[in-house]
Amino acid sequence: MSVSLLCIVILFPMLVGALIPVLPFSNRKQMELYLFAMVVLNSLLVWTLILLHPAESLTVAKFTGNLTITFRLDGMGMVFAGLVATLWPFATLYAFEYMTKESHEKVFFFFYTMTYGVTLGIALAENILTMYFFYELLTLVTVPLVMHTLTREAILASRKYLYYSLGGAAFAFIGMIFIILYGDTISFTYGGVLDLHKIGNRVDILLLIYVFSFMGFGVKAAICPFNSWLPQAGVAPTPVTALLHAVAVVKSGAFAILRLTYFSYGMEFLRGTWAQQVVLAITSFTIVYGCGRAIKETHLKRRLAYSTISNLSYILFGAALMSPAGLVGALSHLVFHAFMKITSFFCAGAIMHQTEKHYVHELDGLGYAMPKTFTIFTLSALALMGVPGLAGFISKWNLAYAGIESGLPLGYIGVGCLLVSALFTAIYMMTIVIRGFFPGEGFDKNQVASFQDPNWKMLLPLCFFTVFILYFGLFSSSFIGFLQSLI
């Protein structure tokens, strides 16, 4: 029974999404109720699955040889699936309120809910082929979401997103072929599946292919120089940018790289090679590059998108360290960053929804009009900076621990980059906060008098995430212990 849940949680949201245009809803409220109930139900199913934790795998389709579509729940899958299942209902709730100002909601929720299933497919994939299949599918179901507003800008952005993602997937595909050729099996096995006898003297080619597929999957994780699709995709409605472009889609890229590094190639094979140096250098550079661009950016959502680019490379930096501690750091940042960034995006969305303001310099004094939103935004900003007591500190601590432990010169430099990026984060986030609360002399309070905090549908998710950020910041021992037990 519990094994079949593996398949159910993936297919159920797709079915729910597919039924939206078909079912005869008499009003918006009914659709909201249906959608919310189903999404919550699916999240409960995912959590049941995690608690039951079935060890066996479920094969649903078999191609030639050992190529199968197979699902299994292992530790890493648990982390990602649990994260997605926790965030999705809240994001849906938030989207109900946000989408009141946008048109053709049904199409939006159709694809939005389907994405839930596809993302879970990536989390629960047992082998690289299954993961690749859902990875491609994810691109296809999210393109319409980026295109949603149908403005010229949105269409251009979605086209770019499509080309970038497909191009990246092509490189990842090459990596997959080599795993199939030179591996004992295509299943994900901690420590890697490569057969050294089959490889013989072709080690360098395999390393080159590793770098290719790292960059290929890295397109979704917005690694420099393949990052420009992400800020552009910010034209999508905020629930999409917050959940998909800060968590589900981009973290699928990071998740795939973690799988590739630790479960297909194996860290023993890669550690100490030139391939590791290359990916370490690229991720360290992206960490600083993303932050630097964020400071320059004045559009609020795009600024947060650049911040995401930088933070995703934190995760990839953990992956590139190729050590158990690096994996713990990467996974903890994968989870914590999701909460921090979705919070700041939702705050940005709430500001845009309530005031129609999109640029940083328009936010003067809004802290007085929307105190709750701005306080929560401040908290997420502090967490992203890595102030101790909040979640960001813990994940950065784990990453830096791994970086120093590696003893590599690039490890030390990478840790330095983390801290430079923390300072940059302070610059681009705190300037917003200070604008909000300290508008300067000559500021007229009446300018913001007409604005107010959003209603409970937007505030509830924010409060919930805030509690998470605080809780993980203060009492993370058990969670980090859990991550360490996976290895």
Partner: protein, 487 residues
């Protein structure tokens, strides 16, 4: 445990209550709440000094290996006393000073938060706890700097924030390295480095020590990272500048003590390039600060530059890694705290009553407010180092310590620079007294009216001045106490 939590919780609660409660509009209500808060804080803090001394309390674990731990040792106690005394004095001074200012509620709210965090800082028992409170201190004192809400204040606040965070991240980098090379992160007199690590990579550890000391020295306003101090301290309201200049810079000093004597150990750093580097930097700062103060016409800025110089006296004493100099430094921590707070409060009283900020406008001030100017004079004499004030004693110990240390070059140049700086101190402080009491023949004494400030303002200044003098007259208890610290 309960005592500790109450001690930190009470000012924290008052701070949070005042920050969040928008209903307090009546000034009388506000002030009675604030007074209640001060009294309650004073009572519990004094009580916990006696009951918690030399006790180790682990509250909870932030994550594995990172306990939030408190341990009130004698050094912490010294700083804690300084913080409480100065904050109470400046707090009661604010009652009168802040009566025409806006946003008083927020001011007191953050004032309490800063006090709570400072106490936490003094009680911190390991590096991660210290770092936590150190970052919170920066963030919570930021609104005090920006209280005036002018463009100048906001820019100063940003400068303060980014300098401080830059320093904090340097510390963190050093701490990341240190963490993997020490037996425990708890503070332990003599250091707790692993013997293996000292042999294996001494240079790496020296780099770590440099980073950490440099990071904390930003808060202490040491060259080359002193730039924020003369900008940020004077723009705050006078009582807040007093707190900033007398106490909050000492957070950097305490940090450096913890790093040198309780993490790396004086023995490890003795005779290294690290010591030479910081001895030179502190001496440069001593001289440069005095010189800049000498050329500065605005009183509050002049006092801020004076802080730059005087705090580096303390740092110089610490970097000598020698018992007598250490005692001198600790005496100067207290002495400078009292004197600088008193001077800033005097400057505040002058601004409040006459609106004069520049030194050349102070001619004849002694006729208008003799008691205040006498306090100013006595504190100035202390800062210059004229017996029988506390300042003389601390400088005496610093000079003797330098001569005894037998470090080539610095043991002679050090005292000379201290003396030169004392001369300059006389040069920038005494003319105010001289012109104030002896305005010259052409000064029209007819127009003079008595403008002595009221008791709320005068009493705190008097208390601080008397304390600084008492330190010089009756130093034996204090010296015995300090003797038991340096082993």
């Amino acid at each position: 445990m309960i005592t500790l939590l109450t001690m930190l919780g009470i000012p924290f609660f008052f701070g949070l209550f005042l920050c969040c409660n928008r209903n307090i509009t009546n000034r009388k209500t506000l002030l009675s709440i604030v007074s209640l808060g001060f009294v309650a804080t004073a009572v519990v803090t004094v009580f916990s000094w006696t009951s918690l001394l030399e006790q180790e309390i682990t509250v909870f674990w932030l994550t594995q290996n990172l306990p939030l731990m408190f341990h009130l040792d004698r050094i912490g106690l010294l700083f804690s006393i300084l913080a409480l005394v100065v904050f109470l004095c400046a707090g009661f001074f604010s009652f009168s000073y802040m009566e025409h200012e806006k946003k008083e509620r927020r001011y007191y709210g953050f004032y309490f938060l800063v006090l709570a965090i400072l106490q936490g800082l003094c009680f911190a028992g390991n590096m991660v706890t210290y770092y936590l409170f150190f970052e919170l201190l920066t963030l919570s004192s930021l609104p005090l700097v920006m209280q005036e809400n002018t463009k100048e204040a906001i820019m100063a606040g940003l400068k303060y924030l980014f300098y401080s965070l830059c320093g904090a991240y340097f510390c963190l980098f050093g701490f990341y390295i240190l963490f993997q090379n020490e037996s425990t992160i708890s503070f332990l007199w003599g250091g707790n480095l692993l013997a293996d690590s000292i042999v294996a990579h001494p240079v790496l550890l020296q780099v770590a020590a440099t980073c950490m000391i440099f990071g904390f020295s930003v808060k202490a306003g040491m060259f080359p990272m002193h730039g924020w101090l003369p900008t940020a301290h004077p723009v705050a309201p006078a009582p807040a500048s007093a707190a900033l200049s007398a106490v909050i810079v000492k957070a950097g000093v305490l940090g450096i003590i913890r790093v040198i004597y309780y993490q790396f150990g004086a023995f490890f750093l003795q005779g290294t390039k690290v010591q030479t580097l910081f001895l030179s930097l502190s001496l440069i700062t001593v001289f440069m600060g005095s010189l800049l103060a000498y050329g500065e016409p605005v009183l509050k800025k002049r006092l801020a530059y004076s802080t730059v110089s005087q705090v580096s006296y303390i740092l110089f004493g610490l970097f000598l890694l020698q018992g007598t100099a250490f005692t001198g430094s600790m005496l100067h921590v207290l002495g400078h705290g009292f004197m600088k707070a008193s001077l800033f409060l005097c400057a505040g009283a002058i601004i409040h009553l006459t609106g004069k900020t520049r030194v050349e406008e102070f001619t004849g001030l002694g006729k208008e407010m003799p008691i205040l100017l006498w306090c100013f004079t006595i504190s100035s004499l202390g800062l210059i180092g004229i017996p029988p004030t506390g300042g003389f004693l601390s400088k005496w110990y610093l000079a003797i310590g330098a001569l005894d240390s037998e470090i080539p070059f610095f043991s002679y140049v050090g005292p000379v620079v201290l003396l030169l700086s004392a001369l300059l101190t006389a040069g920038y402080l005494l003319p105010i007294t001289v012109k104030g009491f002896l305005p010259g023949a052409e000064f029209d004494t007819e127009k003079i009216t008595k403008k002595e400030p009221n008791l709320w303002m005068l009493l705190p200044v008097l208390i601080l001045t008397v304390l600084s003098v008492l330190m010089g007259i009756l130093p034996n208890g204090l010296l015995g106490f300090l003797g038991s610290v340096f082993r």
